[in-house]
Subunit: 217 residues, 2 copies
């Protein structure tokens, strides 16, 4: 996505800052350069569900639509690389391999959403936490260029409350299950945010997923 003179610009947001609200008109699409942002849906009475977790290189917005369907929030300091919507859409028409790339990315997101649906609909609180940790472990260690060996350590990009919104739980339940996994030796905590997983397979065993090794080397 290089060489897009004039239609491309950067924007930064501080941790906690809203990027756009559901229903807002937005005249750009963007991709995350650095930091973490979330997509959330909120019900009238305040119940909240996260529906997207955006890390570096993830895409925001629909080329063809001027309003946005979800609240987008910066959860750490975030930098976006933005493209004005109209020229971006024209470029899409002229440069087919970009829309094919975008299709691939969207299909990957759809797959992620479907894995997420299984977590939300059928897993216990403990399985939800274990699944979340293994998802983050995978994304974070790949981002750091490391291999997912048996011994893994990473920083949680989310507060307990945000984890609860991700998993359809309350923050108290998240906290209790983290403590429980710690008690059982599945994870260790250094401070509140850094997680050490001494044996990644034993974490996977807690997810409820088919556990025959999986992605492990």
């Amino acid at each position: 996505m290089a060489h897009l003179n004039g239609i491309k610009f950067y924007k930064s947001y501080k941790a906690g800052e809203p990027i756009v609200w559901a229903g807002d008109e937005v005249d750009f699409v963007a991709s995350v350069v650095g930091g973490v942002a979330t997509l959330t849906q909120t019900m009238e009475d305040g119940r909240r569900q996260m529906v997207g977790l955006l890390l570096a290189s993830d895409f925001i917005g629909r080329p063809n639509r001027e309003t946005v369907a979800y609240d987008v929030t910066a959860i750490s300091d975030v930098t976006l690389c933005c493209f004005r919507r109209k020229p971006f859409h024209e470029m899409l028409v002229k440069t087919p391999h970009i829309s094919q790339r975008l299709l691939e990315m969207t299909l990957d997101e759809l797959d992620a959403a479907r894995e997420w649906m299984l977590i939300l609909g059928r897993k216990t609180a403990r399985e939800k936490i274990a699944s979340f940790l293994s998802i983050i472990a995978r994304r974070e260690t790949i981002a750091e260029g490391g291999d997912v060996g048996t011994n893994v350590a990473f920083e949680l990009p989310l507060t307990r409350e945000a984890m609860a919104d991700y998993l359809g739980l309350t923050l108290e339940t998240v906290s209790r299950q983290m403590s429980s996994l710690k008690r059982d030796g599945v994870i260790q905590l250094e401070g509140k945010r850094r997680v050490v997983v001494p044996d990644f397979n034993s974490l996977l065993n807690e997810t409820g997923d088919d556990s025959d090794g999986g992605v492990l080397v």
Copy 2:
């Protein structure tokens, strides 16, 4: 999607028949011509979550990937319009506006998946049922060319068990909540499968969603 000599063919499946299993190699992609199919994920111990409900014109498969990630099952008699994967992929590269169309469809599915995530993660059993019924009402009555007026009637394409798999509930809870909505006059049942909604707004009021009219005319 016309004029695709030689690479296009049709396949039919009976109600209940599996179309493909998760992990199978499949050399075609397809679009649903008629009937209803589901995408489901199953855990080792048998817990099941539906992650896709495919009606007429919905698309199955990934142009770029030879295996399939979910169980696909015909839930009524189903006819698929299939395209061999390799030539389909080549056509995609040569005919950019098709991949743009496919991108639009995929983004719509992603939006649907995200609405679904809110339902799974945060709604009560009663709200889940009401949400499901209003989603089906919308899709079915549009398919029949009718308008979604206040008074709506439609056929449920799913058994109580499949509804449970859709909503992350047990079939008993689905049954109880259907009875409860019936007792409260929100819906009427003609037989087990036909649903009459005397006042669509009062159904919407049960979904927990922002209720200011919405899509109603």
